[in-house]
Amino acid sequence: MTGEETDEELMLAVCDGDQSAYRILVKRHLTSISHYAFRLLGNQRDTEDISQEVFLRLWTNASKWQPEKARLSTWLHRIAHNLCIDFMRKHGRTVIDDEPTKLDIRDEDYTSSEQEPDTDDRTQRLNSALSTLPENQRSALMLCHYAGFSNKEAAAIMNVSVKALESNIARARRTLKDLLEENDTMRGDTETIG
């Protein structure tokens, strides 16, 4: 294995029990899977458990992947999505579309790439807004904005229609935008008073 093989070739090798093919696939897809799980679950330990489980399923269910139906990354994100939903249900977090989901996000988990005080404040507000978004809206936003899936692929991962996905993502963006604008207005008022 050179690492230049396609996902399809590597998955065929995994079906034959080739562990080096499995390792190449881990290298190739782990980052996007762990980031997606983290953005849904909000904490590091659960993210690691879910990521391990996703790749365990890649190994045990490799023959079930149908390359003509979905890309490997789509299939893996779907597994990760389902595992995250199951995890949230088990741990008492609601996943109903219109109900906000409170995540266990700690300050040290999420970090901002910028260190200015204003940005930190904005990041914190954005984090808290993200954590209160309903699960379907958050998933839709994560898949399309961060993972770079098309609306059609994201809908397939979440097992919803494209229309439903677009409705979720639009509502998520509107909520976050309103919050940021409200935040900016409040800051402007404070500066004027000061």
Partner: protein, 151 residues
């Protein structure tokens, strides 16, 4: 395209023009050149996307090693694969030859069992004789000389 339509496009697809559907890109571009409110909406969407981009996730330093080195269980293989592997094992040991031999005999046994239970339209050629004794008796009658019977 109206301002509301454009707002919906931004909410659904984000601020990157490349992610907007191909068929409405020209309409969006036209609206942006004509309408200052549309430009303000795009600016606001840019700010949100930039804020989302500023959120980074932690560095999962040891995760890759954990995932790569986790013990891998036997895979759930398809039933057909498992059957083929059992019938045609990799080792060429003579002690395992009975498996393909048995598989080859299955159609033969099946044919015998089937033939034993069903006639498949084959006509019984005994012409109504119930058993061989009756048939032999009739043959013996045919051999008897007509003159002897009259006596």
């Amino acid at each position: 395209m109206t301002l509301d339509d454009f707002k919906h496009v931004l909410d659904t697809y984000g601020s990157s023009r490349n992610s907007w559907p191909q068929e409405i890109q020209d309409d969006c571009a036209k609206l942006l050149t004509e309408d200052a409110q549309a430009r303000a909406l795009l600016q606001s969407q840019h700010r949100l996307d930039a804020a989302l981009d500023s959120l980074t996730v932690p560095d999962f330093r040891d995760l890759e090693a954990h995932v790569m080195n986790q013990p891998l269980p036997p895979r759930d293989r398809a039933l057909v694969d498992r059957l083929v592997e059992w019938l045609l094992p990799d080792s060429t040991s003579l002690s395992e030859l009975w498996r393909p031999a048995m598989a080859a005999c299955v159609p033969l046994v099946f044919g015998i069992v089937l033939g034993n239970y069903f006639s498949f339209g084959v006509v019984d050629e005994t012409n109504g004789f119930e058993n061989w004794d009756d048939e032999l008796l009739m043959i013996s009658f045919a051999d008897v000389d007509q003159g002897q019977l009259e006596l």
